[in-house]
Amino acid sequence: MPDFLLQTVFNASYAASYMALIAVGLVLIFGVMGVINFAHGELYMAGAYAIVFFYVWSGLPFFVAVALGLVFVGCLGILMELTLFRPLRTNPLGGLIASIGFLLILQTLAVLGFGLRNQNVPPVSQGRITVGGAFLTYERLYVIIATVGLLTALYFFLRKSKFGWALRACAQDREAAALQGISINQTARYAMFIGAALAGVAGAMTAPLVAPSPYMGHSVIVTAFIIIIVGGIGSLEGAVVAAVLYAFVHTFVTTFYDGVIANIVGLLLMLAVLVVKPQGLFGVRERA
């Protein structure tokens, strides 16, 4: 039984990691751009397909492929910013619709370029660490390490660098940020690159574990929304905490009951948070 529990903790840590990457990216984009990026799940999918292209087809080393995937998906984010979100900056619902259009395009491109069926990514490593009777494969461990590393880097970037402050300032008050000489366009570009790249890394790192398919984004976007609501929409720390909370609750309920109940519990958790603290665990009350 202790092994069983520990195994579940390992499982939950992995789930928390990649969900945190996705959710933090989504929060960052929402914070700075003020847009609900419905295509965020498809950016995650694009990251996974970057691995298919760079690692499986082109034969590059896995981590090089992940880095290329990061850049590629980050650039997709910049593309979205330039072509969709910038012209629609005063129109958040328009941005939402545009992101749905982008989502459909990405999905179809994946089908046309790679086929309908899910793709195979050969294992990166067959190794694993064992603790008692529980174990953690290296592939999952890499995801956890990448998440911790990237989020730490992001933390220092946001707290210690001028551009980090600019990003946070923009997310908190776009107009006041402009009054400090911060270019909204430039900041938006940073935010879209980072936010998209985080989703892309999540897709790239998990690609060997999930077998990429064109519609894989759908299953994560809903979870990501739940997480950022529980955490409080404007809060990056909240997103991380909520991802961990949600992943543990979901994994434990799935292990001890079943997945549908786990989903209902997840949704109820979110509703409860909203009713008790409508601005989320870490959120600031929405400014009028």
Partner: protein, 432 residues
């Protein structure tokens, strides 16, 4: 009513032509075929886009090969005249409303004589149109059958009944295995399949180590599912009719969590990848139900599927190996059956073909002669069952171990299947 509708039909089609010319210049009306030869059209109504497209699109691709081959050979001969076969497809997006629109278009505008569907979510939208128009429709999901659906047939994959053959074979060849666990996604495909496996295990004297585990179709991480499944150290791990996206991670998880027992599954798409991601040793002896079509055992004379090895080669050549799946051949095998019946009937009219097809209660299923069956389960004998292959992974390659008879199993253990189907609410008269 009849005469009135035929009058209005001509007037309406005139108006339709005028309107489409005037209002919708971009909209192509179904092309009328003025070719010299006779043409018979067959409809393909299944999801071609969206998450369920993997259950439709590869089938349409397979049917194109089938039609090309038949037409290159001069078409099918009906009543002494050669007919070319044309496919008309409509993307139903796995939605009842779109399927209804599509069925109307295929029947009343494209004039098809037979419609192949995936079934499931889309079928209820088509049911009444098919009944009123007397259109013969095939489904891959026999759970669509009811006593009222007289023109609906399940002539190829009588999912999930054939799963009994795998368990039967396993019990005969590995009598030492005593306990099993089963998991499936919680949906219309998973549930009846679980009932079938439960019945088959019970018939084989294998007990369940824990109750069946249903997981949400949106599951992305299968580690917790597997952790729970393996908690009671079962001898047999049954993956039921899990979708391909689930079977692979489930097998990997079983491998990683140190499972040493037997695995049995309904499908094992892309098993080469799973072998690659686990090990040949781990996957040795895994049992499932869908052979590779380059398997030499399919050249056996009793197999009715035409040129299976060549078909597989052509499919891979045209669309790539990764697009091949069970549905790639299933719709084509239905076309075989249909063409054979039409030739015997000397007519392409749905009613005639259906009579010819069901004549004597026997039919030529892809895997051999079979009988029309299903009254006890579906309320109607419109499912074609016979032998079904038991496929075993040997040295990293799927090989047909044996063709086993579904009817034989049913004659001995039918009441068990009915019991478990009833328990899970899967009998036709339990469905709402």
């Amino acid at each position: 009513m009849k005469s009135a509708s035929s009058i209005s039909l001509t007037r309406r089609s005139l108006l339709t032509g005028a309107a489409s010319a005037a209002l919708l210049p971009l909209v192509g009306m179904p092309k009328a075929s003025f070719a010299q030869e006779n043409v018979v059209k067959v409809g393909f109504l299944a999801p071609l886009t969206g998450p369920v497209a993997a259950w439709g699109k590869p089938g349409l691709d397979g049917c194109k090969i089938w039609a090309d081959w038949v037409n290159e050979a001069g078409g099918i001969e009906i009543g002494g005249k050669p007919y070319k076969v044309e496919l008309a497809s409509y993307d139903d997006e796995d939605d009842a409303g779109k399927a209804r629109t599509g069925a109307t278009q295929l029947i009343r505008e494209n004039d098809v004589k037979f419609i192949m569907m995936l079934g499931g979510n889309s079928w209820p939208g088509v049911e009444e149109i098919a009944a009123r128009q007397g259109m013969m429709v095939s489904t891959l999901l026999p759970s669509d059958l009811t006593p009222d659906t007289t023109t609906l047939i399940a002539p190829c994959e009588v999912h999930p009944i054939y799963n009994v053959t795998g368990v039967d074979w396993l019990a005969a060849n590995h009598p030492d295995l005593k306990t099993a666990v089963v998991c499936a996604q919680d949906d219309a495909l998973g549930k009846p399949s679980v009932a079938t496996y439960l019945a088959a295990f019970e018939a084989a004297g294998i007990t369940m180590a824990s109750p069946p585990l249903f997981f949400d179709p949106a599951t992305t991480d299968f580690a917790p599912v597997m952790t729970q499944l393996l908690a009671n150290n079962p001898d047999i791990l049954c993956l039921d009719t899990c979708y391909a996206d689930y079977v692979q991670p489930l097998c990997e998880q079983a491998f990683q969590q140190g499972y040493k027992g037997k695995i049995i599954s309904c499908t094992l798409d892309f098993y080469q990848r799973i072998v690659e991601r686990t090990s040949k040793e781990f996957m040795e002896g895994v049992i499932f139900q869908f052979p590779d079509f380059d398997d030499k055992a399919l050249n056996d004379p009793r197999i009715n599927f035409k040129k299976p090895n060549e078909f597989f080669a052509e499919y891979v050549k045209r669309y790539g190996a990764t697009e091949w799946s069970a549905v790639s051949w299933e719709y084509s095998s239905i076309l075989d059956l249909w063409a054979d019946a039409a030739q015997r009937a000397g007519s392409v009219e749905p009613a005639d073909v259906l009579v010819a097809m069901k004549e004597g209660g026997k039919g030529k299923h892809a895997f051999g002669d079979a009988r029309w069956w299903g009254k006890e389960l579906f309320g109607i004998d419109n499912a074609l069952v016979g032998d079904w292959p038991v496929v075993v992974i040997r040295d990293g390659k799927a090989t047909i171990a044996e063709f086993r008879s579904i009817p034989d199993w049913w004659d001995k253990n039918g009441q068990l299947l009915v019991k478990h189907m009833t328990d899970l609410g899967q009998m036709w008269n339990q469905r709402t």
